[in-house]
């Protein structure tokens, strides 16, 4: 599918800053970073979680590929990868050819692949399914996300979780506290008179309704975020990148982590995985973007004392139907693989590979409840109590080194 990406549209249309493209990288020195880290910096090795959401429903079977399974080749002949094309993980499963960096992480035992992850009574709606993954509430819709509830349970400092991009995803919204957000492009600090006024506008007023109170809370959080991040990120160039550029998002995360910003969770995303038609080339290109952005980031993190505490979670709202449709694509499915990567991760497979023949109405059966993944991350990476965040806490899988 020759989809024109939002970024390409914006570049073609001159929406992104042209001058910034040639301005050159404005390097921030080590001393500046250390000087600007917040008063309670993250200690070296303190665990940090990066949540990477793949929007659109990534086709898990063409990501972690059962290349020897005749049912795989039989049900999607046009879409299937030949055994020689895939990057072998063992004698049954291999990675999509675009995921060379993931394969290297696997070799170095820093990539965990949880197979067949899903939730009870799978829903084929993108929106409901993504909502379920982000709120961790499969039974009924709720207004808070799983990271938002962790924020609620552990204080009121908004910088503990940061979303890259100005539009907050549901996972980042709590009942009392909401994650901070950073613009991925160039940041210009506000003039002093304006920031002083902003502090005034953040005060509650007796006439406020619930919506006014939300606005005021955002103003107060903005002041805190500015105090924490402005110096760390000053001089950052826009580089013509929108918030949909994963490399740019992870670049900001890397700067913050290295500077010791006391943020425990970063949320980043990559969009475009809804491949009902002409899937193979589109998905492979997207997985290539994911692979280069993530492996570059993790290589950078592995060289840094604080970066070695970073664990990345990669998930999508569902996998896709086993059998291809006739548009060389796949329709909405169910279970899919979840990735965990980074120095703290104990590499290897977790969960069983779903059968391609024992199906639920054409869909894979899930073997692992997604809350098993979240629970272990809340416990071992965030140091929180999973019972305060999740309605059901399955046994941990053990993908984080003790």
């Amino acid at each position: 599918m020759d989809t024109i990406s939002r970024r390409r549209f914006l570049i073609a249309s001159g929406v992104t800053g042209g001058a910034a493209l040639v301005a050159g990288s404005a390097a921030v020195t080590w001393s500046q970073l250390h000087e600007s880290a917040a008063s309670a910096p993250l200690a070296a090795g303190d665990p940090v979680l990066v949540v990477l959401t793949l929007y659109g429903g990534n086709d898990g079977l063409n990501t972690v590929i059962p290349y020897t399974d005749s049912a795989y080749h039989g049900t999607r002949p046009e879409l299937a990868y030949a055994p020689g094309e895939v990057l072998h993980l063992d004698d049954k499963l291999g990675l999509n050819p675009a995921m060379k960096g993931f394969a290297t992480l696997w070799q170095s035992k820093q990539l965990a692949i949880v197979r067949g992850v899903g939730y009870p009574k799978p829903d084929h709606s993108h929106f409901r399914s993504m909502d379920i993954w982000q709120t961790a509430s499969p039974a009924a819709p709720v207004k808070t996300g799983w990271i938002g509830r962790w924020l609620d349970a552990t204080g009121d400092d908004p910088v503990r979780a940061v979303n890259l991009g100005s539009v907050l995803p549901p996972l980042a919204v709590g009942a009392k506290t909401t994650a901070a957000a950073l613009n991925v492009g160039k940041a210009t600090p506000l003039p002093a008179q304006v920031t002083a006024a902003l502090a005034g506008l953040g005060k509650d007023d007796p006439s406020d309704g619930a919506t006014d109170a939300m606005v005021c809370a955002a103003f107060r959080a903005e002041r805190k975020v500015a105090a924490t991040f402005d110096k760390v990120l000053s001089g950052r160039q826009a580089a013509g990148s929108g918030s949909d550029d994963l490399t740019a998002q992870l670049d900001v995360v890397a700067k913050c982590v290295k500077a010791g910003v006391p943020t425990k969770v970063y949320a980043v995303s990559l969009d475009g995985f809804d491949t009902h038609a002409g899937e193979k080339a589109t998905q492979q290109a997207l997985l290539g973007d994911l692979d280069s952005a993530l492996s570059g980031f993790l290589a950078d993190m592995a060289k840094d004392a604080r970066g070695r505490g970073v664990t990345v979670l990669v998930y999508s709202e569902f996998g896709r139907r086993v059998t291809a449709n006739a548009s060389q694509g796949t329709d909405h499915g169910t279970a899919g693989p979840v990735f965990l990567a980074g120095v703290p991760v104990k590499g290897g497979f977790y969960g069983d590979q779903p059968s391609l023949t024992d199906l639920d109405n054409g869909d894979l059966k899930s073997n692992v409840d997604f809350r098993a993944v979240y629970g272990e991350l809340v416990h071992k990476v965030l140091g929180g109590d999973p019972h305060q965040v999740l309605d059901s806490v399955p046994h941990e899988l053990g993908f984080i080194n003790a």
């Binding site: 989809t3 073609a12 907050l168 909401t178 613009n183 506008l201 919506t211 006014d212 959080a221």
Partner: protein, 436 residues
Amino acid sequence: MPSQWESAARLVRRTGFGATGAQVDAAVQMGTAHYVSSMLAADPGADRGAKATPMPRFPAINYGDKGAARDKTAKKALNKQRGEQLKAMTAWWLRRMIAVEQPFGEKLTFCWHNHFATSAKKVKDPGLMLGQNTKLRTLGRGDFHTLAYGMLTDAAMLRWLDGQQNTSKAPNENLAREFMELFTLGHGDAYTEADVREGARALTGWRANLDGTTAFRANLHDNGSKTVLGVTGNLDAASFCNAALAVPGAARYLATRMWGQLVSDTPPSAAVLDRLVSAYAAKRDVSAMLAAMFTAPEFDAAHGSIVVTPVEWLVGVVRALRVPVKTDGDAIQLIRVLMGLGQIPFYPPSVAGWPSGQAWLSTAAVDLRLQTATALASAGDLSALDGSAPSRVDAVAHLLGIGSWSARSSAVLRAAASDPKRLVALAVNTPEYLTN
């Protein structure tokens, strides 16, 4: 009890993009009931501002033979041409929203765009996007069946939700599912997975032509018997549409979604919903439903119940301050702001449309809005604030169609009153202006 002026201001702001004191004064003088009926009766195309910003027409891009290999340079040139057209298309709608005298026509079109959310990111063809935009504008206030069927067979929609690929031999479920889940019935118990699969069969056979029209190809249609939502027969797109709209909850779903866009993040009470549904009635009259919505006592009861979206905010500020936006280049500057805030017309993030409420209130958005407001205040017409500094706090409320400031905002604005530009930049960032 809100004052008459405050009530009128709320109505004008919710049915437009921001407001000005002069507009609110006019609505008060007219009486809000008359304001609503004349707004609903007006032809959006007859508006003087609309006439001054005619929809662009683009020469078709010649992609040549599909099978023929095209060289890289030619492909690049075509992509560039397409990029330019998409830019001009987006700039045009923004300029139209800014230029219209009565903004309701464009506001409602934007609401329908969010309801039947279709993105140029996948459709890629500005001609198809503008064709859909015209349908949303012209069909958006009549009977909902015509609009819904128009969307089901719309060229941009077919391309967006893979209707193009949906054939008797290979049904593609995308359009059938989203039509029920998002456009007509809502997610839940109203339909089953079997309805989705059978619905896809009913929709087979529609194709978009290169000129933006669509055609039904009988040879691609599945002529077998299907059962959708309890209706059985050789169903096609029209009977699928009928079956969906005949589901008892369909009217409630539509009323709730429009309420969510125009009035409040909190769903309407059962009593209000009953009133909206009975106005809509068997004729599926959208205008009657909207009139009932705008004149309901509950419409006026809760102040600040909805977070203003980035497009409403930006277009509202530009309109109130009469910031000159003469060219596409000017509009591109504004699109850059909307990109940062996460809401570009013609580019909704998914078929569910844009998020709402809390999603627009991130700390990053706070910064962007303040920086933007500072720039717009410098470019705008602040002559309404020519009076003495103490009078400016009330004057800026009138300029922006705000009924009254809270004690909190009043204190902040009084401190900034010596500098009209800063005063305006802050006023459009108060909780009063960011909610409605």
